[in-house]
Amino acid sequence: MGKYVTLKKSDFNEFIEKLSKIKPVVAPVAKGKKSFAFAEVTTGEEVALQYIPTILPPKKYFMPQKEKILEFDKKKQDWTPILEYSEKIIFGVHTCDLAGIQSLNIVFTTKPKDINYIVRKDKLVIIGLECNNYCDEHASCAVMDNHLPNGGYDLFFTELKNSFMIHVNTQIGDEIIKRIKLFQEAKKQDFQQLDDLRAAKRKIFKDEVKVGHEGLKNLFDKSVKSKVWKDIDSRCVACGNCTNVCPTCYCFDVKDDINLDFNTGARYRVWDSCQNENFAKVAGGESFREDRGSRQLHRFMRKFSYPVEKFSRYFCTGCGRCSRTCMAQINLKETINALVKEKK
């Protein structure tokens, strides 16, 4: 469990090059000045080691935006279930996104199990990367307890002064280390640096919102009739950006697409959003969340209440993407603080 190795920073480029020869490597790359995205890389120079959460979280590799699940041939009356996957190494996953992947794993391995997800996940190697500082003001990873590594990776990189400290967490990770012969055994001073960094982090990462980890569920459970949702109702434009960029939103729609021969085609799962007006509308026309405030409440409950009931786990990772992306500036930390203020 306790295997640690180091990699000289000067060897990082070579590491990524060698890594990309094992399997295709995806890593955070800069998209303009303020944005980042996971994309394929072959050299270390392309990797953005200092990055704020990518526009889309790595969930795009675990549950693709559009995923074929069935092919059909009408004349032959044939329906064939399909699995799509690709082998990849995901490098540079922050602890918030590792928590997001863990949440998705829980959902899709809960019975009835989702074979498509499970197989796809097993084809992906995950290499984490520690945040030594806050990415920006939207993060609330400390209150969600995701600012430090909690597993969910094969290898985990922490940037130290001249090297990376690497936690080897799985056999798959160890095989990579053995195959790419660039690593040194971690020495006492490396461990010291890691401890110092973690101690410093505990001082920096705190007090993001005016309620503690334990109090969050109760805060939301008691918020159903809050005026906060009325305010949000008047501002939300129901675009669905917040759910698309959320590392733990997994709702989907199932759609058919027929080919131009009007005979063959496929059934797909595509990302859907509970913020869309028709999301909960039944055939008779009744919608159970007609106004946008109630749909936003639902989104928050799916992060802070329902998964706690079901899986004993918050589904908010504290990554801050929903606040960063909201066109109408609906902000997660402000929403939590407004609820706390109202309660007092």
Partner: protein, 248 residues
């Protein structure tokens, strides 16, 4: 399957959307297996009064055009408004910024009296439309979707959320972060943020989202430091005709 007879018609437009059909590449061959084109001015000289599906490009800007589109509507079982001009009036709608008499005299000078003109209308403001493919030009994957829907009698609704949603899914850097203003936040999606993917801004060619969260829209403009007048002006490039009701 019996081939469906399809006719292309153009009204006030640049015919660029019809040209997009030629850009379909190999898919065009699959489409031609399904349909029999009986009229298409850009590629053939034949005309026909026998068709099932009318694909109409262009906006309605003369009283003669009003009569012609009504005739087409009577013949066609299915009418598809094709391209921004047909779907929302498009850039021809800029004419509606001026008094009709003034603009006519400005354009045609001393011959103005020989040229009949009416305010620019989208097709649906004149006759009922079954399917709409907005866009300047149309986005071919969406046109294929609509064609499939039309040929199998299923509905197609133009998405009513913002281009930003698709833009985020494509992980583009936000134009506003680049210091450029973009109409993505108030323009209907469905184009897969085609322009922004290719480094251009959104010009609002697909029409405005019908989203009535007024405070939210104000917040969006405020967030990006855009004035209401500016956005209206920009939006009017493609969407001026929205101010008109149905042509009586």
């Amino acid at each position: 399957m019996k081939k469906v007879k399809v006719a292309f018609f153009d009204f006030t437009c640049c015919e660029g959307c019809q040209l997009q059909v030629a850009n379909m590449g190999e898919m065009l061959l699959d489409v031609l297996d399904l349909i029999e084109v009986v009229e298409f001015r850009e590629v053939m000289s034949e005309k026909s009064n026998d068709y099932d599906v009318a694909i109409v490009e262009g906006s309605i800007t003369t009283s003669h055009a009003v009569e012609r589109i009504k005739k087409i509507r009577k013949t066609a079982k299915v009418l598809i408004a094709y391209g921004s001009c047909a779907a929302i009036g498009g850039i021809n709608g800029m004419k509606n910024n001026f008094k009709l008499k003034e603009i006519r005299e400005y354009v045609y000078q001393k011959d103005a009296k020989h040229f009949d003109t009416i305010p620019t209308h989208a097709v649906h403001q004149v006759v009922p439309v079954d399917y709409t493919v907005p866009g300047c030009p149309v986005y071919i994957p969406e046109f294929i979707q609509v064609l499939k829907a039309a040929l199998s009698g299923l509905p197609y609704n133009v998405p009513d959320n913002a281009v930003c949603v698709e833009c985020k899914l494509n992980e583009n850097e936000c134009m506003f972060d680049k210091g450029v203003t973009c109409l993505g936040p108030i323009t209907r999606a469905g184009c897969n943020s085609w322009c922004i993917n290719n480094g251009n801004i959104c010009y609002g060619c697909r029409g405005m989202v019908s989203n009535p969260a007024e405070n939210g829209q104000k917040d969006i403009l405020e967030k990006h430091k855009i004035s209401l007048e500016w956005i209206e002006n920009k939006m009017n490039m493609y969407n001026k005709s929205r101010e008109l009701g149905e042509l009586k």
